[in-house]
Symmetry: C2
Subunit: 310 residues, 2 copies
């Protein structure tokens, strides 16, 4: 029985899981903090070693990485918060270390692949996936294939310009979708409004987070509802652009902010309908929450591992 | 020897050409005005009949259409200036009439396919193609496949929002790329400036066209150069968004406005470089003119015809 080892490198923890083909329940899972003593690559290798099966053949190792990668060369261009992983050939290094095929992917891209294969996107051939949390990432499945682009840098969905000369984005450019609709952007807006004297149940919170906004909205707080509506409205407008470009049959939204539910999704739907060039883009379109939650990275890595090597 | 019949339905004429596999020189070509007596479908059938080869088998008919189509069902949703072609099942109708397989595609999508297979994009696997003329259309090749979306409505590249609440677009929405960078948009800007008293060699022209602007720029007219630079700058900014989403290795720009050459391309390149989130998107990137000119539609239809049926 052959095994695929999936690794998900998150902001706080690295997880490694060993899967049998055809079985979504891992044989083994291990985790380790992303930050800590020693080189992150070595800590990852220790994890992989710890779950290496004794009497089964490991077919492939697949790693989901929080940054831009070239899936073909196995090079990660940069990974926020992981020092030393600039232009690091992690795929080839893993192959050298473990003697099996190693593949890598951007975590949001792989989450899209995971949702398509095992999650909310099952049965769809054209999938648009977003994860809205600290930033906005995502992935696109076209005709049952992950859209990667010539160097793996495609579908940076948070970095489309929605407001020329708008607010500065973490990437150095201005007016990107991420600057308006990410968790921190929603929290910032709420904080600014509170600071300017708008009444809100969030008034007593020191530093408001997107989770606070979501909770306050659930408790009927008008400012929180407005903050989410504003983000959803702009997201819906951007979504019209994405639909004009990708014409998916399903839009899947994951990440922490997606738990705001109807306070986010209703404005998204309303704004999307207003901004489409033609209502036919809505025909049979599903807009839904992600299904895999925190498992998206691991399941996406597994999904990539199950694809035939090219 | 089997034959593929390609048909290109343009604004002014319909052309039909019969090609042998492996030969880009058509065996027969016929043309007919798009507007005229009788139903357009019948005029197209007459053209096809006229080039139908006597001693060879016709394998397929492929039609390039100026409007949104569903390539899978063979339905054209609408075709500007062709009455009666709303939700018209042109593919199935052609199959019924001629008894051979018939396929259809949006003309800009097929032009992208043509440029990839026979034109400027040969050897590239990830191609972004634009045609800038009366409107802005285009197509995207991802991993050697045309990106169509779930109902064939993808890559409406002229209809991405670049300026929320900007000028009204022909599609009914606002602030789309097409409203700033199409031929009429460039001509309109030049006309407005002339009307407001800006000195220009175009001052004596009754109704300025994009071709006038292009010619005036070639003759050193400052306003014409500025009009093209303005359009190119905004196009370059939008191109950054496209690169973030598709990460192509080549950008091909065709259509009448592309003949403005450096007056358009230099500002595009400059603005693109300024608006990218990372210079790695420019690595090995080619930005170039389309190679097929008026043949793009026919060659694209041929390229589609040469692909294996799914």
């Amino acid at each position: 029985m052959s095994i695929i080892i999936a690794v998900d490198i998150g902001g706080t923890q690295i997880r490694a899981a060993a899967y049998r083909r055809g079985n979504l329940e891992p044989v083994q899972v291990q985790r380790s903090p992303t930050q800590g003593a020693g080189a992150p690559f070595e800590r990852m290798c220790t994890l992989i070693q710890a779950i290496w099966p004794e009497n089964m053949t490991v077919e492939k190792i697949v790693v989901a990485l929080p940054g831009p990668v070239n899936p073909e060369s196995g090079v990660v261009f940069s990974a926020p918060n992981i020092s030393g992983w600039e232009n690091f050939a992690i795929g080839p290094e893993l192959e050298k270390r473990f003697g099996v095929r190693a593949k890598i992917g951007n975590d949001a891209n792989l989450a899209a692949l995971g949702e398509w294969r095992f999650g909310a996107g099952q049965g769809h051939h054209h999938v648009l996936y977003f994860t809205i949390s600290t930033g906005i990432g995502g992935g696109v499945i076209c005709d049952d294939r992950l859209l990667l682009g010539s160097r793996g840098l495609a579908t940076e969905v948070g970095h489309i310009s929605v407001m020329p000369d708008g607010r500065l984005c973490g990437c150095g450019q201005r007016g990107h979708l991420e600057t308006f609709c990410s968790g921190p952007a929603i929290a910032r807006y709420a904080g600014e409004q509170v600071a300017s004297g708008v009444a809100s149940s969030m008034g007593s919170i020191g530093k408001i987070t997107a989770r606070d906004v979501s909770e306050a909205a659930n408790n009927g707080d008008a400012l929180a509802i407005e903050a989410l509506a504003q983000a959803g409205t702009l997201f819906g407008q951007a979504l019209a652009t994405f639909l004009h470009l990708f014409n998916p049959s399903i839009v899947i939204i994951g990440g922490g902010v997606s738990f705001s539910g109807k306070f986010l999704f209703d404005p998204i739907r309303e704004s999307l309908a207003k901004h489409l060039m033609d209502p036919s883009y809505l025909k049979d379109l599903v807009i839904t929450n992600a299904a895999l939650g925190d498992e998206a990275g691991l399941m996406g890595a597994l999904a990539l591992g199950l694809l035939p090597d090219n």
